[in-house]
């Protein structure tokens, strides 16, 4: 009986070895575009904000409080609206009000202070002191300083662009960039970085986030466990289960 188990096992192994010649693993593409321009200074663009005559340069904002700079345009039928909505909701979840503010800037020359004001009303952010919606007359220089290059598609009358947030600290240095619609963990890292907190490491956007170990919350200093953590705890857990199973199934002799 034992022999046959062994034979079957090795037959299985040989089959596996044979099959393995048919397969190969893949290389994971890496995206380093968020690494561009870190610790360079943002272009101090002139600003126009609806109903605000005092704010006319970006530095007036970031010197007051570190800044999250978001790029959108009001004619956008694509990513801009879901992007801003997600950003608003995620920022609300962070429960931090004092250590950042948001500037939403349009990169479309069609937009002016009133269209941006309408956009703010649509998102319910027109009376929120943390949010500023504005336009600039020097958008090309601003785009260049953050390596943002929206391309106009005349057929669809739309810009081809990425969703971009740029984090700026109170000295005007770019400390972090996020491309795309990002979750609360990345937003929190962004807020830490603009407050000059040292983050020794972070994950690059990619496919292999499925089994990550932890999501670090810099605000509370705690780790929220992701599925990867449970996999690390698995060997010890399975061992415990094995021991308890053995104890359950073995009969103990009364006299030793």
């Amino acid at each position: 009986m034992f022999r046959y188990i062994v034979y079957t096992f090795f037959a299985g192994l040989s089959l596996l070895t044979g099959l393995s010649s048919l397969s190969k693993s893949q290389t994971e593409p890496i995206d380093l575009s968020e690494e561009q321009g870190i610790y360079t200074k943002i272009y101090n663009a002139p600003l126009r904000v609806y109903g605000e005559s005092k704010i006319n340069r970006i530095n007036q904002l970031y010197q007051q409080r570190p800044l999250l700079l978001a790029f959108v345009y009001t004619r956008c039928t694509g990513i801009c609206n879901p992007f801003l909505l997600q950003l608003k909701e995620t920022l609300e979840l962070t429960h931090s009000e004092n250590n950042f503010q948001v500037l939403v800037v349009s990169f479309d020359s069609y937009d002016d202070t009133s269209t941006m004001h309408q956009a703010a009303i649509r998102f319910g952010l027109n009376n929120n002191p943390q949010w500023t919606f504005g336009v600039t007359d020097r958008i090309d220089s601003l785009n260049k300083s953050v390596q943002f290059a929206p391309a106009w598609d005349s057929i669809r009358s739309q810009f081809d662009h990425e969703a971009l947030i740029v984090g700026i600290n109170n000295q005007g240095y770019i400390t972090k960039k996020l491309l795309g619609i990002r979750d609360i963990h990345d937003i929190k890292l962004m807020i830490s970085s603009i407050n000059n907190e040292f983050i020794p490491s972070y994950r690059l956007p990619g496919k292999n986030n499925l089994l990550s170990c932890f999501n670090y919350d810099p605000k509370t200093g705690k780790n929220t466990m992701a599925i990867g953590f449970f996999i690390i705890a698995l060997p010890a857990t399975i061992t415990l289960i094995i021991i308890l199973t053995i104890v359950l199934f073995t009969s103990k002799r009364k006299t030793l």
């Binding site: 995206d31 907190e197 994950r203």
Partner: protein
């Protein structure tokens, strides 16, 4: 701790322990048939454990704040250098790295200023290890695919520095290096 201090400490401890064990051994040969062994061993064990715990506690308190994640954390670096490791070379640049066409440039780091290396890998685990002009290892971090590790350092000695790959990465591992200057 400095390299040769660590070696000296180890040798001193090793020699001391060797002497202890030799003494114990010799004592067991020279003794007569009566048992002259240690008495009150439980009390001696207790004191030994207490001393050892205190020593370890002091070592922890002194050394933990010197860990790479904590030193230079409060300072803003004057420069960021992007590093991407690949089998078997390093790309180092002050600008961003395009993974499709990685290009390195020669790097000059300012003296006595905190700089930040942002290190990642295009393929496998590599080690980004900085050796000084005297070829002593100064600092290091891992280059892991899918992650960026930030290493901050303040260089206080001008000269030519070498970077060696310190995490086994394949058959070119021993030749994987690059250099930069500090002045």
């Amino acid at each position: 701790m400095e390299h040769h201090s660590m070696l000296l400490l180890f040798i001193i401890l090793a020699v001391f322990l060797a002497i202890v064990f030799v003494t114990v051994f010799v004592s067991s040969i020279k003794v007569s048939d009566e048992n002259h062994g240690l008495k009150n061993t439980l009390r001696k064990r207790f004191w030994f454990s207490l001393v050892l715990t205190i020593v370890l506690g002091i070592l922890t308190a002194v050394t933990l704040p010197k860990s790479p994640y904590f030193i230079f954390a409060k300072e803003t670096p004057s420069k960021v250098i992007h590093v991407a490791a690949l089998q078997f070379s390093f790309f180092m640049t002050e600008k961003e790295i395009d993974p499709k066409q990685p290009v390195g440039e020669s790097i000059v780091i300012p003296l006595n200023q905190v700089v930040e290396f942002r290190v990642t890998s295009f393929d496998v685990n590599h080690g980004f290890a900085i050796y000084g002009p005297d070829m002593k290892l100064i600092t290091q971090t891992q280059a892991m695919p899918g992650y960026v590790n930030s290493l901050r350092h303040k260089f206080t000695v001008p000269g030519e520095y070498r970077v060696l790959c310190l995490e086994f990465c394949g058959m070119g591992h021993q030749g994987m290096q690059t250099t930069f200057k500090v002045n």
